[in-house]
């Protein structure tokens, strides 16, 4: 039994890799409950009429893509199905690449560039750029990511300010992020906002959702997975959730292995361990 307490490190790593890669190649399908946040976001997007114009903020970079990209793809699939028009923008330097990747990996690849969707690229300046965008879209994004004038695209006809936009969707792990869209855009134009954020940022954004300034949020990979299920296109994130569940279970099993043997031993020599634990509980020590 003591052997359970000293599993070699490399074994643990191999098991972790198997546990993570296995479900990615062959999903198990552990049921994923849908939370109210995701349902609200889904219903908001679902309420868009065909032909509505949506601004999609690709405000993430390769470093955070693992968590953010599946969210973007799931929502993009839904938008494609709803026959709306999408204007892709970015306030992150590497966002335009992310946009190109996401458009080409979803149903948007079959749609017409410039008519159904466009990728207007990146503008520097953070929060100030978001403010400029709200009041003057063609001025702030005067060209697309390849440098073609944005006024040359049919999709951009009649788009001046954020008031001409039916909804803003931003996928943002940091700043500028949902807070900036709320302050700079919602404050003046009351444009509907949906935000995708990392799991750790949900609590930061929650107050805006409570106040109704953001209509819906997606948090981390689980958010993306739930959305994929609602759009009925289970993809990367759903597969990743199985991996996620197994990884959590693996850690719990390992913790159990570590503790069960000593649990039995403790029964034999309780008095000893009691005095030992009292010492260990000393301030500042290891816990």
């Amino acid at each position: 039994m003591e052997r359970l307490q000293s599993i070699p490190k490399s074994w643990i790593y191999v098991i972790l890799l198997i546990v993570l890669a296995g479900p990615l190649l062959r999903p198990i399908g552990i049921p994923i409950p849908i939370s109210s946040d995701i349902r609200k976001s889904f219903e908001a997007v679902d309420s868009l009429a065909p032909g509505s114009v949506v601004v999609f903020g690709f405000d993430y970079s390769p470093g955070s893509a693992a968590e953010m990209e599946p969210q973007a793809m799931a929502i993009l699939e839904h938008l494609a199905e709803k026959q709306v028009k999408v204007i892709g923008i970015s306030f992150q330097a590497q966002g335009p690449e992310m946009a190109t990747k996401a458009f080409s990996a979803t149903s948007w690849a079959e749609k017409e560039y410039g008519v159904d969707y466009v990728n207007l690229g990146y503008r520097a300046g953070g929060q100030a750029a978001v403010a400029a965008f709200a009041t003057d879209i063609p001025g702030t994004f005067s060209t697309d990511y390849t440098g073609k004038p944005s006024s040359s695209f049919p999709i951009m006809q009649g788009i001046k300010t954020a008031a001409d936009i039916d909804m803003i969707i931003t996928i943002a792990p940091g700043q500028p992020g949902p807070e900036d869209y709320v302050r700079q855009v919602y404050g003046t134009y009351k444009t509907r906002i949906i935000a995708g954020v990392p799991a750790v940022a949900i609590t930061q954004v929650a107050p805006y959702v409570q106040a109704g300034q953001i209509e819906g949020i997606l948090g981390g990979l689980p958010g993306a997975a739930e959305y994929e299920i609602l759009v009925e296109k289970p993809g990367q994130a759903v597969a990743a959730m199985d991996a996620q569940s197994l990884a959590h279970l693996l850690i719990i099993v390992l913790i159990a292995f570590r503790n069960i043997p000593s649990f039995f031993k403790a029964k034999e020599a309780r008095a000893q361990s009691m005095s030992g634990s009292a010492q260990k509980a000393g301030r500042g020590g290891r816990s």
């Binding site: 000393g282 301030r283 500042g284 020590g285 816990s287």
Partner: protein
């Protein structure tokens, strides 16, 4: 009013804290020296350096990855004051020290501190440029280099006090692999759980700021720590009174604080 509405109470508290700390320092100069409780993590540093000396392997120190002009720079400075203690111990025991640094401005200060510590221990010639190493200005490049160094030089003690981001766990795991005592400390709440779990001793939050007083046992510094305690009593009282009043329907305290 010259102070912005919504920040007036904060400004007043800052002023009161300044007054309180200065008062405590004056009391200490009059001879009233307070005692502070044991901080096991700091006692463990000497043991850690001692063991490294016995096995003839170096001690690794890092003051975190935050630059001097940053909002969390106070943690870096707290780390650097522990560095001066660690460097003196290393000088005294003729033990090798490896300080890894991610921010260039911190490197400038850290090198000065280590040099000075060796000078004060009367061993300026034992100091070498290899003791303070700038290793890459990006978070994970720093981590990659630091774990590489820790492994290759088989450090026998790992002391990390400062502000960290996700890379903290990489360093503590490298430290666990090479063995020896690990002493960590931080006031960055997001990383504390990992430091507490992965190291042998961890200074939590405010404890890193008391480290300098504890290590030097300087009466004036101890007096300031006592001042911090008095401030905490006041805060607890304020929260209790505020809540009781609120329960009876008065928002007086809440309004005062948000002024």
């Amino acid at each position: 009013m010259l102070i912005e509405v919504g920040k007036q109470f904060s400004f007043a508290s800052l002023f009161l804290l300044f007054v309180l700390f200065i008062y405590c320092i004056r009391e200490a100069r009059r001879g009233k020296v307070p005692q502070i409780r044991k901080l096991a993590a700091l006692d463990a540093i000497e043991e850690a350096v001692g063991r490294a000396t016995e096995v003839g392997r170096p001690v690794h120190f890092s003051p975190g990855i935050i630059e001097l002009t940053h909002e969390r720079s106070a943690q870096t400075l707290a780390g650097l004051s522990v560095l001066s203690y660690v460097a003196k111990l290393c000088a005294r025991y003729d033990t090798d020290l490896v300080t890894t640094i991610m921010k260039p401005d911190v490197y400038v200060v850290a090198e000065e501190i280590v040099k000075q510590s060796f000078l004060e221990e009367g061993k300026p010639d034992r100091f070498s440029g290899e003791m303070v190493r700038f290793i890459g200005a990006e978070q994970f490049a720093y981590a990659a280099a630091a774990v590489g160094i820790m492994y290759r030089e088989q450090v026998a003690a790992n002391i990390m006090i400062g502000s960290w981001l996700a890379e903290a766990l990489l360093l503590t795991e490298a430290g666990a692999q090479t063995g020896g005592i690990q002493v960590t400390g931080s006031a960055t709440v997001a990383q504390l759980p990992f430091l507490v779990v992965a190291s042998d001793y961890c200074l939590i939050g405010e404890e890193i700021y008391a480290a300098s007083a504890y290590l030097s046992q300087n009466p004036v510094e101890l007096a300031v720590v006592r001042g911090q305690d008095l401030a905490k009593v006041a805060v607890i009282a304020l929260m209790c009174v505020g809540s009781v009043l609120l329960a009876f329907g008065s928002e007086a305290i809440l309004q005062l604080i948000t002024k």
